[in-house]
C-alpha cells in the first residue's frame, strides 16, 4: 500500500492544481491563462529533474550501482518531457501577453539551449556501445549539462539587458496567485518523482532480464526450481 500512496496523492494534487489553474486571476503585469500554471511549475520541475539527474550521475560514478544510473536517466528523460511542455505552454502564454509565440527572450533561448544539452546527452548515450562506459559518459555529461543549465538559468538573463519576462512573478503577485503557483510546483515535482520512479523500475526489470543471460548455465531441472527465488536476489555487481 505504501507504494500506491505517492501516485494517488500526486494524481489528486495535480488534478486540484489543474482546477485551480482554470480559475485564477491575473498575475503581476501579466494576463492570466491556465497555461501559466503549467509553464512555471513545469520549468521549475525540469530544473529539479536535471539537478537530480546529475546528482544520481555522481552517485553512479561513486558507487557504480546500476540503479543510480537508471534513476539519472529517468530524471533526465522526464525532465526533458517537462521542458517541452514548459516550452509549449510558455509559447502560448507569450502569444497572449506579448502577441508572438516566439520573441527570442533570454528565458526562451535559455530553455531551448538547456533542452539542446539534454538532447545531446541522449544522443551520446545512444552512440556508446559499452554499457558501463556509456553510463560513465552519461554521468559526466549530465554534470556538464547542469553547469550549462546554471548559466542559462541564473547568469544569462543578467548578461542581456532586455527581457520580456517579469522578474517578480512569484514575489510580487497576488497571494492567491502565489499559492496556486506554489501548489502546482509541488504537484508537478511529485509527478516528476513518481514518473521517474516508474521509469527506473522498468529499466531495472529490463537490466535484470538482460543480466540473467550472464548467469552460469544450470541443469534444466534445478533452474526451474530456482526460477522464483532467483528473481529476488540477483546481485548487482558491476566492477
Amino acid at each position: 500500500m505504501k507504494i500506491m500512496l505517492l501516485p494517488i496523492i500526486t494524481l489528486i494534487w495535480v488534478t486540484a492544481g489543474a482546477v485551480i489553474a482554470w480559475t485564477m486571476p491575473a498575475a503581476n503585469q501579466l494576463r492570466a491563462t491556465p497555461a501559466a500554471f503549467y509553464h512555471v511549475p513545469m520549468a521549475i520541475a525540469m530544473e529539479i529533474a536535471f539537478v537530480l539527474s546529475a546528482l544520481y550521475g555522481i552517485g553512479w560514478l561513486r558507487g557504480r550501482r546500476v540503479e543510480s544510473d537508471a534513476r539519472s536517466v529517468a530524471y533526465a528523460e522526464v525532465g526533458f518531457a517537462f521542458g517541452i511542455v514548459a516550452l509549449i505552454t510558455g509559447s502560448v502564454w507569450a502569444k497572449i501577453n506579448w502577441n508572438s509565440y516566439w520573441s527570442w527572450d533570454p528565458q526562451q533561448i535559455g530553455i531551448v539551449a538547456t533542452l539542446l544539452t539534454y538532447a545531446a546527452l541522449f544522443s551520446l548515450r545512444g552512440a556508446t556501445e559499452d554499457d558501463l562506459r556509456r553510463r560513465d559518459y552519461w554521468a559526466v555529461y549530465a554534470i556538464l549539462g547542469v553547469i550549462a543549465a546554471i548559466f542559462w538559468t541564473f547568469v544569462f538573463r543578467h548578461l542581456t539587458s532586455f527581457s520580456l519576462h517579469p522578474s517578480k512573478t512569484l514575489t510580487g503577485s497576488d497571494p492567491l496567485f502565489k499559492f496556486a503557483l506554489r501548489f502546482n510546483i509541488v504537484g508537478f515535482t511529485m509527478l516528476l518523482i513518481w514518473i521517474a520512479n516508474l521509469r527506473t523500475r522498468v529499466t531495472m526489470v529490463e537490466e535484470r532480464l538482460h543480466d540473467r543471460a550472464l548467469q552460469p548455465l544450470q541443469p534444466l531441472a534445478s533452474a526451474a526450481n530456482e526460477e522464483t527465488k532467483e528473481a529476488k536476489d540477483v546481485q548487482w555487481v558491476s566492477n
Binding site: 539551449a113 556501445e129 553547469i147 542559462w152 548578461l159 539587458s161
Partner: protein, 240 residues
C-alpha cells in the same frame, strides 16, 4: 627523475615492470610534442580549421554584399565562424587516436592527466595559430572596426581557453563512441553555447556596441573555470 634503467636486453627480462606512467610536465610535453609532430607532417587539422575560418567570412561577405553590419551581428558571425572552425579541428586530436587504434595503448601507457593537459594545450595552440590568420581576414572582409583592441583580444583568449579545455573532456568522450566526428560537434555545441553567447556579447562591445562588457567577461572567465574544474575532476571517469 627516475634513474636510467639498465639496457632492455634479454638479461633484464626478469626485472619488474618499468615504473607506472605518472603525471609529469615531461609527460604532458611528450603528448604535446607528439601532436605537434604528427600535425606538422600532415597539417590536416590546421588546413581544416583555417580553410573553414577563411571560407566562412568570404561567404558571409558575399551574402551581405557590402552592407555595414551592426557590431552585434558581426560579433555573432565571428564567434559562430570560430566555434565551427574549432569543432572541425579540435576533434582531430582524438579521432586520430581512434583511427590509429592507439586509444587503448594510450589508456594503458599514459597518465590520464598527461593526456588531458597535453591535448588541451595542443588544441589551445592550434586555435591561436589558426585565429592569427582567420581573425584579421574576417575583420578585413567584413569591414569590422575594432574600437577596443584589448577587450577584443581578451574575449578571444577567454573563448579559446574554454574551447580548448572543453575539447579535452568532450573529445575523449566522443572518441570512445560511435560516429566520433559528428558526435563531437553534437555534444560540444550545447556545452560551448554559453561561452559563445558571452563571447559574442563581449566582442560586440569591442566592435563598438554600447553594453556592459564586464559581466560578459566575468561570465566567460567563470565558465572557463567551471569547465576546467569539471575536466580535471571528471576526466578520470571518462578515461579509465
Amino acid at each position: 627523475m627516475i634513474p636510467a634503467e639498465p639496457a632492455l636486453t634479454r638479461a633484464s627480462a626478469a626485472m619488474p615492470c618499468v615504473a607506472p606512467p605518472l603525471m609529469s610536465l615531461r609527460a604532458v610535453r611528450a603528448v604535446f610534442w607528439k601532436e605537434w609532430q604528427s600535425e606538422w607532417r600532415t597539417r590536416a587539422s590546421v588546413k581544416a580549421i583555417a580553410l573553414f575560418a577563411i571560407a566562412a567570412p568570404i561567404a558571409l561577405s558575399f551574402s551581405v554584399a557590402g552592407q555595414r553590419l551592426s557590431p552585434e551581428v558581426l560579433a555573432g558571425a565571428l564567434w559562430t565562424t570560430l566555434l565551427f572552425a574549432a569543432l572541425i579541428g579540435l576533434s582531430r586530436a582524438w579521432v586520430k587516436e581512434e583511427e590509429n587504434n592507439t586509444l587503448a595503448l594510450l589508456r594503458l601507457g599514459c597518465a590520464s592527466e598527461a593526456v588531458l593537459w597535453g591535448k588541451v594545450l595542443w588544441n589551445g595552440v592550434l586555435l591561436l595559430a589558426t585565429q592569427l590568420a582567420a581573425v584579421p581576414i574576417f575583420i578585413v572582409l567584413l569591414d569590422a572596426r575594432v574600437s577596443n583592441v584589448p577587450l577584443f583580444v581578451l574575449a578571444l583568449l577567454l573563448g579559446d581557453a574554454g574551447l580548448a579545455i572543453a575539447s579535452g573532456l568532450l573529445g575523449a568522450m566522443s572518441s570512445g563512441a560511435r560516429a566520433r566526428g559528428a558526435l563531437f560537434c553534437a555534444i560540444a555545441v550545447p556545452i560551448l553555447l554559453p561561452l559563445l553567447v558571452s563571447a559574442s556579447w563581449a566582442t560586440a562591445v569591442a566592435f563598438g556596441a554600447r553594453h556592459d562588457a564586464q559581466s560578459a567577461l566575468q561570465a566567460m572567465a567563470a565558465y572557463d573555470v567551471a569547465l576546467l574544474a569539471a575536466s580535471w575532476m571528471l576526466f578520470d571517469f571518462v578515461w579509465n
